[in-house]
Amino acid sequence: MAPIVVMLFASINVSSDLFAHLWSTVLPEYIRNTLGLGILVALLSLCFGVPAAAIISQTNIVMGKQLRWLLMLPLAMPAYLVAYLYTDLFDYAGPVQRVLRAWFDWHSPNDYYFFDIRTLGGAAIVIAFVLFPYVYMLTRTALEQQDRNLLRASRLLGCTERQSFYQIALPLARPAIAVSLALVTMETLADFATVQYFAVNTLTTAIYDTWLGYGDFAAANALASVLMLFILFVVVAEQRARAGQRHQSSRPNTEHQRKQLSLIQQILASMFCWFLVFAGFLLPIILLLNMAIDYADYQQFTALIETGKNSIKIATYSATIATLIALTLALFQRLHQSRGRMIPVQISGFGYAIPGTVLAMAMLATFGPLDHVINDVAKAFDFKAPGLILSGTVFAIVFAFIVRFSAIANGTINAGIGQIPKSLDLAPASLGVKTLPALFRVHLPLLKSSILVAWLLVFVEAMKELPAVLLLRPFNFETLSTQIYQLISDERLEQGALGAILIVLFGLLPIIFLNRQKDSK
């Protein structure tokens, strides 16, 4: 939390000159792009995720069981990686257009029309390919857990299957859709590396420009704060959307009859779902495998193990600590019902929306001075100065990750704790068991799977995260993501393909787990 406060504080001393200059030149366009990108990605994710969720949860689509989890796979793909692969693929000089030119004997861009991938639209589509699973996942769960009787009631009141879907099921899934869209928008707005490949300038671009180009830390912070305002808007909008809807389903819609699709519907639905799986996961992974096969060698493999270990190490720390914090917060809130209790969780949710680099800046701004105090104190007592034990070590990275990803852990754990009946809080006391042992004996066992899911989600995000590690890492410390990033920035992804595949494989872990857990229920 503290780093965000420090960041907001630093933005107070903003120089108006630079701001006026930016405002009169590029800032309006950046803001337009930011809003445009946010809205477009949200819309596209909606168009991809909600129909997919509806098809999987409501119909008898062929291979529905497989598609159910296949559609979640794109989550395992780091957006910057997919962005690079796609821009490379559909670029004028990319293989697709080259083949087309060779086939049709075209010679210059004037001979034919081909969509330009490096546009706002292109960026939005590709980002949506990777992020739509959030919408899909949450909407599908919402649809599947809806009270069966509500749908039955609507049928008896004269709705056809279709009408009852649109009038009851979808409106009831609205909170879930809103949450997922908020997540998608936050990820999009905070993204930098991805939009960079698309040559789309957004507010994050402006943040980097002012900070690195103009060297104006305060203005950069101010811009980051503007970005946070956008996010705040998204979060508030999401919560408004959920207000007044506190319906808990008593009988999940598990055994409902699925809609039988006609042949044409079946074909269209299958094409739609498989297209999403292909675009979001299969195509990128095939491209990566292709590269890996062409370029892999033994030496690379040994280097990979070293960097892989680092990645796993920081991801494990972050996931464990973030989960523990989320757990403590959630349990604390559960047992101390007070008005202010929701605030810490809501604020920590913003962390997710801070671009990694901005967060890293905030970390340095916070821990730098702290380190100084520690060293000064140590010296004052005639000890050897311990050095930068906070800002110059893995500690800073782990801390940054926790700030950034605690929203995920909090969300998952809170959802899990919401499922525990309130009476279970009181039952142990009635059996003479004190609060703390009760938490360990009742709540924790019940939360086991939520804890694991939260841990895995943070773990995967931490494996993928790039900018914060890049800036905060100590000497001789490479992770899979930094290595890939360096190779990408030098247009040599081929040599990092193996590492990229490794990240994706790790990303698959929670998906497989989530899926298995669903099945066993």
């Binding site: 008896l156 004269g158 319906h247």
Partner: protein, 362 residues
């Protein structure tokens, strides 16, 4: 008069398990049928099948609305929305995202807005919901939610109303009052209804007819009083808790049959349904014994022991066990009422009196 709904030879199979079989029922317009039976007997499945949520595997359902005949057969299983059936769910299933008015008007798509408003207004007044018209379901109490559910189900003027344990979520003290209120309403509107419950008292208060189900079959249908007087199987009598069970055995004496039990013998003429039992090849039977059928005996030896004492308006209620426990005729939990107070564990001598006993094979 042609029945409003006729169910013939209905069977339902779910995941290759027979849930309902050979169900035949018919109801006239305005009749209220109470469907009772132990949990898992298939009564909710029957409602779901009528509503169209589950398809039958054999049999047919006919609904005669007066203007037209709705036939639901294996070849043409109408979807729920075409059956003109209304339903009130146990948890009311009010749409949480719609207000009371919107919930009530939900099923009114085929009539004009003005008519909709009018119908809604009528129902709001009828169910005294006018004050709550703009509230959302979660802002209402349980009783209020139920009234909204009733208004919503009645709004499209269904020819048949299904109620799935409608009173189970209502405070016991209010329940009776509410049941009478709703029964009067249904009667006034001449609505045919089938309601499901596991509480026999609800049936006696609410229904014109009772149907007792057991293991997917309807055992007996009829007026509640008739069914109570002449239950056609021990399951019916047992579910309706008409008395306690006394194991008996046919014992052939010289030239006539007699029934023996641990509390004395019983001549066959004292058994009303002896004809139905004579043909049975079984030797073990259960005799339905109402508390009033038992009296203290002065000449018999002690034959029972008091296991439990309860206090009721009719005096003390004793549960008795036979002293002898090692025979097939041993019993426990035999109900007996007396104004006299005995000690727990006291031994008594009792005998049977009365003429109209009912006997069932086990």
């Amino acid at each position: 008069m042609t029945p409003l709904i006729t169910i013939e030879n209905l069977a339902v199979e779910l995941q290759s398990k027979l849930i309902l079989s050979q169900v035949d029922l018919s109801l006239s317009k305005g009749e209220i049928l109470g469907l009772v039976g132990p949990s898992g007997c298939g009564k909710t499945t029957l409602l779901s099948t009528l509503a169209g949520f589950i398809g039958q595997s054999t049999g047919s359902i006919e609904i005669n609305t007066g203007d037209k005949l709705i036939k639901i057969t294996l070849d043409d299983m109408l979807p729920p929305e075409q059956r003109n059936i209304g339903m009130i769910f146990q948890d009311y299933a009010l749409f949480p995202h719609l207000t009371v008015t919107e919930n009530i008007c939900f099923g009114l798509k085929k009539i004009t807005k003005v008519e909709q408003a009018q119908r809604c207004e009528e129902l709001l007044t009828l169910l005294e919901l006018n004050e709550l018209a703009q509230r959302y379901p979660h802002q209402l109490s349980g009783g209020q939610q139920q009234r909204v559910a009733i208004a919503r189900a009645l709004a499209p003027q269904p020819s048949l109303l299904l109620l799935d344990e409608p009173f189970s979520n209502i405070d016991a003290r209010l329940r009776n009052e509410l049941m009478i209120e709703i029964r009067q309403l249904l009667k006034r509107l001449e609505i045919t209804a089938i309601f499901v419950t596991h509480n026999k008292d609800e049936v006696f208060t609410f229904a014109d007819k009772i149907a007792v189900m057991h293991q997917g079959q309807v055992l007996q249908v009829g007026a509640p009083a008739l069914v109570c007087q002449q239950p056609n199987s021990w399951q019916v009598a047992d579910f309706l808790q008409l008395g306690s069970w006394l194991p008996v055995m046919f014992s052939a004496t010289e030239n006539s049959l007699a029934l023996s039990s641990l509390i004395g013998a019983l001549a066959p003429h004292r058994i009303k349904n002896i004809g139905a039992c004579k043909n049975a090849v079984l030797t073990n039977f259960q005799l339905l014994v109402k508390p009033s059928d038992i009296v203290l005996s002065s000449h018999e030896a002690n034959n029972v022991i008091i296991e439990h004492i309860g206090v009721t308006e009719q005096g003390y209620h004793y549960l008795l066990s036979s002293l002898e426990q090692n025979t097939t005729l041993a019993f426990s939990q035999l109900s007996f009422y007396s104004q006299e107070l005995f000690m727990l564990g006291a031994e008594l001598a009792i005998q049977l009196k009365g003429e109209h006993f009912l006997l069932y094979p086990t």
